[in-house]
Amino acid sequence: MNDYAVEVHEIGKRYRIGAAPAAYRTFRETLTEPFNKSKSKHHGKMTDDNSFWALKDISFNVKQGQALGIIGRNGAGKSTLLKILSRVTEPTVGSAVIKGRVGSLLEVGTGFHPELTGRENIYLNGAILGMRRTEIDRKLDEIIAFSEVEEFIDTPVKRYSSGMYLRLAFAVAAHLEPEVLVVDEVLAVGDAEFQRKCLGKMTDVTNEGRTILFVSHNMSAILRLTNETIVLEKGKMVMRAPSVEAVDYYLSHGFSQGGERFWTTEEISKDAAPFTPLAIRVLTDRNHVSETVRSTESFQVEFEYRLDAPITGLRVGIYLISTRGEFIFTSFDVDDPEKFTQYGTREKGKYRSRCTIPADLLNEGKYVIGVNASTFKIKRYFHEEQALTFNVDGTGAPGTQWPETRSGMIRPRLNWEIEGID
């Protein structure tokens, strides 16, 4: 017997194009469909014209106790893959064998009912996630303690703040003890403190020797939790490599083309409305769109977007992130209080927010720009942590007379004074 916990063999999943099959199937056909042989029906059959492969030819193995990361852009098939492995949906072709119980955290709080109390929801949600009642009884105190909502545990969860709700939901999920844990982006919620706690819990889970399949857009979480990562692109697996390499590949391929990136409609979630991101680009100090800027020269980051309705209190900004996922800075276009007053309400229309990043700031290497459009504490319209990557060329930067790699993400030109003190 091999020691693979998960074996995936040539899995593929085909979906119909157009969400509603009702558009071309009549009610009568549906009633009679199960009585016909699937081959004889002409309407229900999927052809290349009316369907697409969300996943194709995916094969990989995961060893017992390994944490495998899965990354890819929106629509690359990550979630479909996890749904197949957690048996929510069936593959169209191929097969997979999973040894042990599978626990899936495709979303925390599934099955939570607002009218039930925290305690009642722990039992309900636990049962939904596949825990036995005795198991929940045993872990109840631990779950409540982890969630930090002790005082409100007998209050209906509809009275909870969204933070409390998420904490409770994650607490239940975190105490599942399956042999194989399938996790999709659950860490993207909650405040920073709670995210740290979640990440810590996930690390514990890996250390306990459980197998984890982990999907995230958060590259630092991927790097922290996994040793190996697969990269999906348009439903195909393009790479499986140590996480550092895979993240590097992912960040530098596919979505940055020559220092400029345009968003297509499919990439934008409906929740973003009325905000629509259009493009982001990096401009050198000579106003050329470029993938590479010089460390010794200033450069600009330009973000174009459209508002389909006026938004009050909108702030549009960028993150600068290292390829290891560490944040270097966050800056919004209305950080200046005067600007914020001036642009209190942005009317409907197209906009461009542009900022200049000073010379002599960044060390040579690859960087990632993320974007964020939100109103403070009200709504996050759009957020993408990997919007664009660019390179910084260090030629002429302080200290480049020595051909060595300087540690650190920034490389400021500091004013040194040297004096003899004898």
Binding site: A5, Y15, P21, A22, F27, T30, L31, P34, K83, I84, L85, S86, R87, V88, T89, E90, P91, T92, V93, G94, S95, A96, V97, I98, K99, G100, R101, V102, S104, L106, E107, T110, G111, H113, E115, L116, E120, Y123, L124, A127, I128, L129, G130, M131, R132, R133, E135, P156, E177, P178, E179
Partner: protein, 282 residues
């Protein structure tokens, strides 16, 4: 999924499924706690933030009985097989409401829990099943009222009261079977949500609740009428609880059972057949 099972015991093979499958009862047994918790949730939530709470389970049939008694019993003088009209209609309404509530709740159970279906694996049949189970509890809450009326009208059951569980079982089987069809279709066509209340209303008029089935005298018509499994079930329940039977009604027992089981089995197959696409289509 007990802790006592070692990982080697559980091996899940994921592959496309084909053809007809029967419900995996072994797996369903495995999920019995989920069935319990979903039933419990249904009950718990149904009367939350209501003043009268579970009393609604009693008020509904009683109010309907009052209305029926005034309009059908007193004004229209609808024949009630020689039983005092209020008692007659209440004894029909209880199994009927068990049927109707089960049908209505279970039919929408999949769509109502769509976030569970798209996020987590479990046998989908748990959802309609637990909806039906929750309605059985309501039935037993309302049952004492009927017993009260029986005492008032001095009716007492005889030995054939032993048939009551049989008829209740048929009620549940029929409701569950029809709900399997409707809930699976509801995933694809939300029209079902509009059709079900209409169908259940129509179905009630085709079932001897407000009137005695004696009014249908044409034998041909009677035969068609009896194809409605709820005719045999409602008559059977009423006669067995009110002590009207003097011999075992073998013929109607068998006919109702055959039709109910046919509905259930076809529903089970249809549901299983459609189940695999629920998460994609819902």
């Amino acid at each position: 999924m007990g802790l006592e099972t070692s990982p080697e015991d559980v091996r899940v093979t994921i592959k496309p499924s084909n053809g007809w499958k029967i419900i995996d009862f072994k797996e369903l047994k495995h999920y019995k706690e989920l069935i319990f918790f979903m039933t419990w949730r249904d009950l718990k939530v149904r009367y939350k933030q209501t003043i009268l709470g579970a009393a609604w389970a009693i008020i509904q049939p009683v109010m309907t009985m009052v209305v029926f008694s005034i309009f059908f019993g007193n004004l229209a003088k609808v024949p009630s097989d020689g039983i005092p009209y209020p008692l007659f209609s209440l004894a029909g309404l209880l199994p009927w409401q068990l049927f109707e509530n089960s049908l209505r709740n279970a039919s929408k159970s999949l769509v109502a829990n769509r976030n569970m279906i798209t996020k987590i694996y479990f046998p989908r049949i748990v959802l309609p099943l637990s909806s039906v189970l929750a309605c059985i509890v309501d039935f037993f809450v309302a049952l004492p009222i009927l017993i009260g009326f029986m005492i008032y009208y001095r009716y007492s059951p005889n030995i054939y009261a032993l048939l009551i569980p049989y008829y209740l079982l048929l009620t549940v089987i029929t409701a569950f079977g029809v709900s399997l069809w409707f809930s699976a279709m509801d995933v694809m066509y939300r029209d079902i949500g509009y059709i079900v209340p209409f169908i259940s209303q129509l179905w009630m008029y085709l079932t001897p609740i407000a009137y005695g089935s004696g009014i249908i005298s044409n034998p041909k018509l009677q035969f068609i009428y009896n194809l409605n499994p709820m005719v045999g079930v409602v008559n059977g329940f009423r006669s067995s609880i009110l002590g009207e039977y003097i011999k075992l009604p073998i013929q109607s027992m068998i006919l109702s059972a055959i039709i109910s089981i046919l509905i259930l089995v076809s529903g089970l197959f249809y549901f299983r057949r459609m189940e695999k696409q629920f998460a994609d289509v819902i």
